[in-house]
Amino acid sequence: MSAPRPSTIFLAAITALVAVLLYSPLFVPIVSSFFTISHGNVDWSSPTLSTYVALAGNHEILAALRTTLIVGLCTVVLSVVSGTLLALYYHGRRFGRSYLQFIIFLPFLMPPIISGLALLIFFREIGLERSLLTVVIGHTVFVLAIVYRTVLMRLQSMSRTLVEASYDLGATGWQTFWRIILPNLSSAMVGGAILAFALSFDETMITILVTGTQSTLPVRLWAMMRLGFSPDINALVALILMFTVLLCVLAARFLIPRQMATERT
């Protein structure tokens, strides 16, 4: 082995810098959840779990967390059902598909402020009071493109012969759907569901615009941020980060292996 070339060292250094830049904002709240920080100096001498204890008593935050989970679950159910239906319907059909597909992708491509404001005016025009329902609709419209695309990609990589074999063996359309198509789509649907949940969990800009009196966690944090956070928020952040990493690992397990396998062929 020869010594690494200067260019490699330079590249590695930039990569390390990028990693530090990306993780430093996450490092601050996590460290502060275990140690006290005053005037920018960390007191390493006395680790504490008191922030986590305080968090358990913060009802306002826990209520917001519950709201976020409810919104996330509703969004997942709605977006997976409609995303899968749309993918099944558009797959193999030509009529109007590219236009409809473009419409589905619009809320994802447009800045959230535009999608959010458009929905805000829409809800007002149809007389729908701002509530959790409007938040769920906003989130579903936003994440639908992701679920749709994930399921559609799996459908496209699925061999046509599976369905044909099923019909040749005398299965009805229903039987083919339940026994052949759906099982083949299940891991893409789960992966899409996890992505949808992760996006919904952190969605802030559309939510701020369409939410009523009950706010989700990011919106509550946003409101609290102007005044400064109490230390127990750091504990919450540390927990959310761990939870998010777990979700990422899960999503990767469901989505990556098959796609990489298909890319190689």
């Binding site: 260019s7 490699t8 590249l11 590695a12 930039i14 990569t15 990028v18 990693a19 830049l21 990306l22 993780y23 904002p25 996450l26 709240p29 005037h39 920018g40 409609s82 239906l85 749309l86 099944l88 797959h91 193999g92 109007g96 409809l100 419409i103 809320p107 491509l109 447009m110 800045p111 402020i113 535009i114 999608s115 404001l117 458009a118 929905l119 005016i121 829409f122 025009e125 609709i137 579903t140 419209v141 019909y167 009805t172 359309g173 229903w174 083919t176 759907f177 992760a198 952190d202 802030t204 800009m205 990011p218 944090l221 946003w222 941020m225 952040v237 959310i240 998010t244 979700l247 990422c248």
Partner: protein
Amino acid sequence: MSRAGSTHSAEGRLSQLVTVLAFALPVIFVLVPLAIFLVYSFFGVDQGTIVYAPTLSNYVRFFTDPIFLPVFWNTIVLCVSVAVICILLAYPAAYFLTTLKGRWRYALLMLLLVPLLMSYVIKIYAIRSILGLNGFLNKALVALGILDQPSTLFVFNMNAILLTLSLLLIPFAILPIFLSLERIPQTLLRASDDLGASSLQTFLRITLPLSLPGVASAASFVFVLAIGDFLTPQMVGGISGFTFGRILYSQFGTAYNWPFGAALSVALAIVVICAILVGERFGRSRGTSV
């Protein structure tokens, strides 16, 4: 699946329902709101109530009022700068990833992408505390002897917005650049090497041109995400860091002028659509349509 409809009448009804839904859902929940929004931009406001009579006054105001066009332009410049910073940092990192072998390559890619899924609001808050007068950045610069005393250069102004947005959006630049670099066939690089090119020549004449589509997509991603953001400027911009997103947002809050806000959104949408089209146009590698 095309045969599924004809076997039972229940199935037939279901497939009709699916057909209706497949057309109705996207139209009702995406197209109709956007259309209403566009129509709103031609309404006016009189003493806090919306006047439903067509007028061009919102657009006239946007182009003639001395406030809006400069802010609009400054915001575009800001977001282009964010895209440039992100690419300058993301390109070497993405290049480094492609020099790694197998498992390490994807593990490190994951590592650089995971921060994307972390709470946006919390990241803004943490970056604000890092940039602050008493923050880590000022402390580090003073400790390194670059500054004599903490600077207000990046506290509550446009610089703060620039740095914060760049930090938040780097991962969006890494992924497309990495994918375009990874797609370059190794045989091309080996051929260039065999023909006696130095590694710098190979990079400049093979790798860089072939990775430019990825750079274009990265720039368009970052630009669109940066220009639509109204949370970051609100949080770290202070009074001087006034961006278009903030003005737009304030039309639906304190200023309470929805039709004018809708007109500003149309201007924003036009810029975004242009950015996406440019990204699409140059984001496709020559010869392949992937």
